[in-house]
Symmetry: C2
Subunit: 338 residues, 2 copies
DNA sequence: ATGAAAGCGCTAACAG
DNA sequence: CTGTTAGCGCTTTCAT
């Protein structure tokens, strides 16, 4: 036997099993009409030959790849990971597979990524966020497949949406903080230009403060997103020095908020007695740290699960018009605030 | 214009640009020999038609997909995310794209996943860990593409390896703990059957204790992997009740170790004065929490980066025999231990 | 630098 | 339930 020969094809399997290639093809599908004995004979022949089904040929001929393309800002983020996992689990039942890429919080990178993903001919594409370059919008609009924007409520959606208002979510935290008596409230976030969800949260903060008749001069930019725990800690240090009268801080994520808590611990500043802290995203750290962290649950897994359901419905033709699934984030009160 | 017509192909672009399809194909490649004017005319025609290159056809004809298949236990783990990001960055320069799947710490799930991934005809496959089902081993061995096992040093590697000894890494922490005076050392990990890296760490713990003439009865199983912060905290509670004389704990990951720290904080037990705690993985939490966490840096990003380099070398034919890249984890001493 | 012909391995479409 | 024919959209190969 030559070991350097080409891998076996369906024709080889068909020959060995004494059937036609078409029957082999059918034997590899769940629903296809093949007699039990024939299927078993085919699968046995395939196994003996070490045959591996070739999706690339199947993809071209059937014009189906069973890919769902997904873009997320960062692969190293528990919120987006939760969304992707739920999405992946939801569509895998139907044999659909996630084709994942990350944008590094950069719309130019998103444009390159979207173009690359569309070349693979996915059945649908899920993007995180509702802000894109004009070319990205055009590519998505003309792709001829379902487009789902998530983690945001875009003003002019491209297609379907499964998301929430980042501004509104933060507004509710501000409302609560003001109601319990905080006035000199600060916001720690990333440089606004890149992370549009972070920018929306900051805008929601400023607008809410204004509605309460409060100024919002206490804005700390902690660097380009994503903001790490360390950067949250550094930002807290800056805040304490520049605005020592601050009585509460809202952070763009739980990670930066936890960093802020640790900075207070290192400086001997009591949380929440001297300063209250709120985060965003309901990461595990916030539930378990001491003091535990007041935060906003954006239901990352639900976003993924509902996106999966939406995709399946659209592919089944069950949806006449673009879907609009609005998530309502939950304010979770814990020990880090009154 | 009909909007429901089929998307344009290279033939359509060729027709519009007044060239042959072959020239269009060449115009879309970086290196191909096409005159500047011709290429510009082709790309203009493509843009006007809204043409999107079809990878599925290219994949079949050229027998190249430019996919690198990767399996990780969980998509929601900062260590594996770091590896995947570095790997992705390393291979993307050459136009290679990651095709990612997760096994949920289950070798049966790994088998299904590997089979599914191989059908997509990747250029190489990277798996996390060195323990597999017999069928997975067979599939990988016969795949005819480079196989790279990572995050482990398998006794019988399938192909290439980029990893480290989990047992040895924990042994070094035990050696240090014993050297500074701890004797009643416990280990908190997951149920052994599933997370083989976790099991290796526990085995390394037990063996190291034995070499120091110490028994290792203090083993807390915190549930099926991955072990969360919460499960680490619960395990710490159990440990304190069942073995109150414990003077140090080594946890299977920084996440469970941080949970253990918080449990001590809730119970008013001083770390490290009453009990020392060590983790694994050098997650950001361990560097910033108070007290900061003694841990082991397994160089997750380096694993990804070196795997990328290995893949590129193999695909370039620069490697005659299987590559063996051994990472040496670093013990990082911080405030949670003496 | 460009073109013509052939075919990658599978499956849609149709036939029986 | 099974088989035959044709072709998915590109790129390999060979010309010029």
């Amino acid at each position: 036997m030559h070991n350097i020969r080409k891998p076996p094809t369906m024709a080889d399997v068909a020959h060995r099993a004494g059937v036609s290639p078409m029957t082999v093809s059918r034997a590899f599908k769940r629903e296809a009409s093949v007699s039990r004995e024939t299927r078993e004979a085919v699968l046995r022949a395939a196994d003996e030959l070490g045959y591996v089904f070739d999706s690339t040929a199947s993809n071209l001929r059937s014009q189906r790849t069973d890919f769902i393309a997904v873009t997320i800002p960062s692969i190293n983020n528990a919120n987006f990971a939760d969304t992707v996992r739920a999405l992946s689990d939801g569509v895998s039942e139907r044999g659909l597979q996630i084709l994942l890429g990350y944008t590094n919080y950069d719309v130019q990178e998103e444009e390159r990524l979207v173009e690359q993903l569309l070349r693979r001919k996915p059945e649908a594409i899920v993007v995180t966020g509702g802000k894109h370059t004009p070319r990205t919008r055009k590519l998505l609009t003309n792709a001829g497949i379902p487009v789902i924007e998530t983690w945001d409520l875009p003003e002019e959606p491209i297609g379907h949406v499964v998301g929430f208002s980042n501004a509104q979510a933060v507004r509710e935290m501000v409302d609560h903080f003001v109601a319990v008596g905080y006035r000199n409230i600060a916001f720690i976030g990333g440089d606004a230009s890149r992370d549009t969800r972070g920018a929306d949260r900051r805008a929601g903060f400023i607008a809410a403060m204004k509605d309460h008749g409060l100024d919002a001069p206490r804005l700390i930019a902690a660097g380009p997103p994503p903001i790490s725990m360390r950067e949250g800690a550094n930002a807290m240090g800056q805040l304490l020095e520049r605005f020592p009268d601050t009585d509460a801080v809202i952070c763009v994520s739980d990670l930066s908020a936890y960093g802020a808590i640790t900075e207070c611990q290192r400086r001997g500043i009591a949380v929440p007695e001297k300063i209250a802290i709120g985060g965003f995203g309901d990461y595990e750290i916030g539930a378990i740290c001491v003091p535990s962290l007041t935060t906003i649950n954006a239901f990352a897994s639900e976003i993924g699960g509902k996106t999966a359901k939406l995709i399946l419905d659209v592919l089944d033709g069950k949806l006449g018009e673009p879907g609009r699934v609005t998530i309502r984030p939950d304010l979770i009160l814990r020990q880090s605030s009154l």
